[in-house]
């Protein structure tokens, strides 16, 4: 039924599905949703188990007296005094408002504000770097002139450690958000340009040939075939670079380029406070994990056409 109506009236396709079919579909989708929910629960369970195992081993080392609690405080100690540690976060805002250590936002709020500041820098850096890198990568393959002019410099700068750019970031942007974002962009941009070019080169030639036979122009082939074809690979590259971005942003923040998680780590180091170090590491871990999860969700949304291969590889 649905097929016939679709044939006649293209626009009304969704509305004309017959009622029993719609009901079956609804039931099927509910069943699927509940299964997906269980799957999700299982994932949470395994994640908790994985972390508990690690924490448990650490606690064991402490209980046996192998780990000095002043140097390697186990989780129950460094997580136990969140209130105490939290006040070291968000020091920059305190400094900006000019209040003393005991006033201002609560410990929990401070952790949130600092975490959010760092996360925003990573996010901004990732977005800017990927837009620039995909743009430049496409241009390099589109125009031979651009390729010859730009690619040698990019390849030359690619192996330079982002740490080397730190002074440049300070010279150019001083202190604040800008230098930290700049560091993230610089750390990702060059690799991502090379990755984009590599992705373009491995696009199935049949796809391009089909478009050519259909009379597509060069720009149409790039827009309608090459860009969608490289998206899966590019999102993969983006995910891999996400962790790189987190590492660089900490370095940028810890050397006084800005304030944030990196600055808290630096503070902990200078005041010899291992508890604060581990607490910050835990927060960074959670943030990075959440960010990666979000990116995977986005990937699934954007790349709706890709089958899930992980399960197939596992059951081999």
């Amino acid at each position: 039924m649905a097929v016939v109506t679709r044939d006649g009236e293209p626009g009304a396709a969704a509305g004309t599905t017959s009622r029993p079919a719609a009901a079956t579909r609804l039931m099927a989708s509910r069943l699927f949703a509940s299964m997906a929910g269980l799957d999700w629960l299982a994932k949470v369970w395994w994640t908790c188990l994985s972390i508990s195992l690690f924490a448990g081993l650490w606690e064991l080392c402490w209980a046996m007296g192998w780990a000095d609690e002043k140097l390697l405080p186990p989780p129950h100690i460094f997580l136990g005094n969140i209130g105490e540690q939290g006040k070291y976060f968000n020091t920059a805002t305190r400094w900006q408002v000019g209040t003393s250590m005991t006033e201002g936002p609560s410990a929990f709020e401070s952790v949130l504000i600092t975490g959010a500041a760092t996360t925003m820098r990573v996010f901004a850096g990732l977005v800017i770097a990927s837009v620039l890198a995909i743009g430049v990568g496409v241009l390099v393959r589109y125009y031979r002139f651009f390729d010859r002019l730009v690619l040698p410099t990019i390849t030359l700068l690619s192996p330079v450690s982002p740490i080397a750019w730190l002074p440049v970031a300070i010279f150019l942007f001083g202190i604040g958000n800008a230098p930290a974002i700049f560091m993230v962009v610089v750390a990702l941009f060059f690799h991502m340009v090379l990755a984009t070019i590599n992705q373009i080169d491995t696009v199935n030639t049949n796809f391009i040939n089909v478009a050519r036979t259909m009379g597509a122009s060069k720009s149409q082939i790039y827009l309608r075939v090459i860009v969608p074809a490289i998206l899966p690979g590019m999102l993969q590259v983006l995910r891999m670079n996400l962790f790189g971005a987190w590492m660089v942003v900490l370095v940028a923040e810890s050397t006084g380029v800005g304030y944030g998680m990196g600055q808290v780590i630096m503070l902990a180091r200078n005041t010899f406070n291992p508890s604060l170090v581990f607490f910050t590491i835990a927060v960074i871990g959670v943030l990075g994990f959440a960010f990666d999860w979000l990116l995977r969700m986005a990937q699934r949304r954007i790349l709706y056409w890709l089958p899930d291969t992980a399960e197939r590889l596992r059951v081999l």
Partner: protein, 275 residues
């Protein structure tokens, strides 16, 4: 046979090749000759099968006719136009699935119209027509990965038909399919061919397929590919493939091919010998 002679051909012919040759990586150390001195005339509405050992350049010739590659010698015309670039009039269907995985079936079929800037309404209409012809109208809103291999190739055929081509070029389109599906697809293709009135150039290395489909079989020599002989299949359609004549033709074609396959093997073995 040489390309120096003035081309003498009817301007109504679907494809005309005169002295066509192709050398890959010409002018370098890795240069190798894929095709030499191909002279061929294909009439409108004719079904021609290119048969030859693998690596003999029959697919290369198809790409040259499609305009996707440039010939290094000779000239190709199609309906009195010189072939220099790809054209929607000559649609190519590949062995591997070449449907865009990010588009639905109907969007794939109407991709050529989208490029010309047709409205969504028109695109959907043309896609529906083409999918009707290949019997896949029900799969219109599906994604390619939801279809079987045979269905995907039918969608690829529909995509080619949507461009109303005068020449359908098919590069071993059924090679990846199982035997039963392949037989069904051959019947399907013959129906499509009869309806469309287009010429079909079909590359295969299966003798059975050649006898089932072709008006004429072009048998290629092994590398560099030349035309060894053009073998007419004058069996009435629909064909009884178990008839004595069909069997005789298969045997004759097998013998024609055997020398070439032997030669190709000997060549490969010569390469495999350690220095």
């Amino acid at each position: 046979m040489s390309s120096e002679n003035a081309p003498h051909f009817s301007s109504k012919d679907a494809v005309v090749c005169r002295g066509v040759g192709k050398t890959w990586a010409a002018g370098t150390k890795r240069a190798h000759e894929a095709l030499r001195d191909i002279d061929l005339d294909i009439k409108p509405g004719e079904f021609v099968v290119f048969l030859g050992p693998s690596g003999c350049g029959k697919s290369t010739l198809l790409y040259l006719i499609a305009g996707l590659e440039d010939a290094t010698g000779g000239q190709i015309w199609s309906f009195s136009d010189k072939v220099e670039t790809p054209s929607p009039e000559r649609s190519l269907i590949f062995q591997e699935t070449s449907l865009f995985p990010w588009l639905t079936v109907w969007q794939n079929v109407s991709f050529g119209l989208a490029i010309r800037g047709a409205s969504q309404e028109e695109r959907r209409k043309v896609a529906a027509e083409a999918l009707q012809r290949v019997g896949l109208i029900a799969a219109m809103d599906k994604r390619p990965d939801e279809l079987s291999g045979g269905m995907r190739q039918r969608v690829a055929v529909a995509r080619a038909l949507a461009m109303r081509p005068k020449v359908l070029l098919m590069d071993e389109p059924f090679a990846a399919l199982d035997v039963q599906t392949r037989a069904r697809m051959q019947d399907f293709l013959l129906d499509v061919w009869r309806d469309s009135g287009a010429s079909v150039l079909f590359v295969t290395h299966h003798i059975d397929e050649a006898v089932a489909l072709a008006d004429r079989v072009v048998v290629f020599t092994s590398r560099p590919g030349r035309i060894k002989t053009i073998y007419p299949i004058d069996l009435p359609r629909p064909r009884n493939l178990f008839s004595r004549e069909a069997e005789t033709m298969r045997i004759q074609l097998t013998e024609l091919l055997r020398d070439e396959v032997d030669r190709a093997f000997a060549e490969q073995e010569a390469f495999a010998v350690p220095a």
